[in-house]
């Protein structure tokens, strides 16, 4: 169950791919962190991740968690964005037989799931073929 407050906290990264970067050791964190785990620096600058990338690997989910039952079967991939950050997300608008490692993809804004018939609608990023 996603509470509205947790969903709200994650809006900057889920809607706009906002990350942050340690000013000292230049590591990018997504989701953003308050303290760099490498050098314990608290000075992190906000950055926006690239909206395009390529598929590093993927799988097809046929037995999904309950919130995703209506979407099954669907593909989930690890995507390496053009700025080098790797993120996990659904890959949609593509026939499974056409999915390929190395395939170029871009972000699209989609509904990720909904909290039953009366709860909040949770939006975020998925990937589609470029």
């Amino acid at each position: 169950m996603t509470t509205p407050s947790r969903y709200w906290r994650e809006i900057p990264q889920r809607y706009r791919l906002e990350a942050n970067k340690c000013k000292n050791c230049e590591i990018t964190f997504f989701p953003p962190r308050l303290i760099c785990p490498q050098c314990k620096n608290r000075e992190l600058e906000p950055i926006k991740l690239a909206e395009t990338g390529k598929i590093l690997t993927y799988t097809v989910i046929r037995v999904p968690p309950h919130q995703f039952v209506d979407q099954a079967p669907y593909a989930v991939g690890i995507i390496e964005l053009d700025d080098g950050v790797k993120i996990t997300a659904q890959v949609v608008d593509c026939d499974f037989e056409d999915l390929k490692i190395g395939q170029r993809v871009r972000i699209e804004f989609r509904k990720i799931f909904q909290e039953g018939e009366s709860g909040i609608l949770c939006y975020g990023y998925k990937f589609v073929p470029e």
């Binding site: 809607y15 706009r16 209506d70 979407q71 699209e108 804004f109 989609r110 509904k111 609608l121 939006y123």
Partner: protein
Amino acid sequence: MEGIIGYGAYIPRNRIKVEEIAKVWGADAPSYKRGLMLEEKSVPSPDQDTITMSVEAAKYALKRALIDPLEIGAVYVGSESHPYAVKPSGTVLAEALGATPEVHTADFEFACKAGTEGMYVALSLVKAGEIKYGLAVGADTSQGAPGDALEYSAAAGAAAFIFGRENLIAKAVESYSYMTDTPDFWRREYQYYPQHGGRFTGDPSYFKHIIGAAKGIMNKAGMKPSDFNYVIFHQPNGKFPFRVGKMLGFEKRQIEPGWLVNKLGNTYSGSSPMGLTATLDISEPGEKILIVSYGSGAGSDAFVFEVTKRIDEARDLAPRTRDLLDNNKNYLEYGVYAKFRQKIRKAD
């Protein structure tokens, strides 16, 4: 001078053909295709709704406008299928674009006219000098009752326009509205599907208001049908725009570039705005465009635009609407369509 500085459209990839729907309800597909001039319509995936399509169309509009989203002073979403009954679509859109928090946001609802309502208000606020840029989106994932004539046309799509004062793609030459209280189509609270007045949706509704708005704006602007290179009328089916065009004295060639309905269906609040995006895609500097929307209930908004030189730079900064319509299509069978549109009753 004020006008459009960016525009974009979005169409889901799923389609269903008229034959596939007619087969289930025992209807005669050729007569529907001939009668409504429809071949297929777009269908949203379960993870697409008015909000998601608005975000994608608005992102394309931003690509053409080349502005900082933080400078957008108003974000309006017009739709009759806002995903929440209570909670704005516009806040999600503004947040996804990075336009918050100094922005005025509102959701509009007026059957198929809500998109041009947002355009009217955003443009007016820019004209008044209240805001630097205003974004208006018309989007819908409309539903027709199973087996109803509307099921063959109710489709999904979005169009977004950013209005400003500099670097215009198209100057807003004139705007005009024409309204009366006409109960031709409605949906009461808690009802899933809309109802309509059958043939009553024609003469005293669609035709009266579009003709009223088109004549009104041409009179106000001192223009006649032959002064326009293109005209876009609301497209509830394929036939009505051509028929109303003929009644007003427009020719087929002026209507065709923005006539998407035969392959797209009726995208309600997105309908005439999407026709405008497709028309801008192929227009040349100096050309003049008339757009007249129609929303049941009932009324029409009309705008006259004059395309500027910047269209040549902006046109291909985002996908063209006809390319979105023709490429990467995925045809659905009726069962999957019924699942996608939540027409199947499931256990809790």
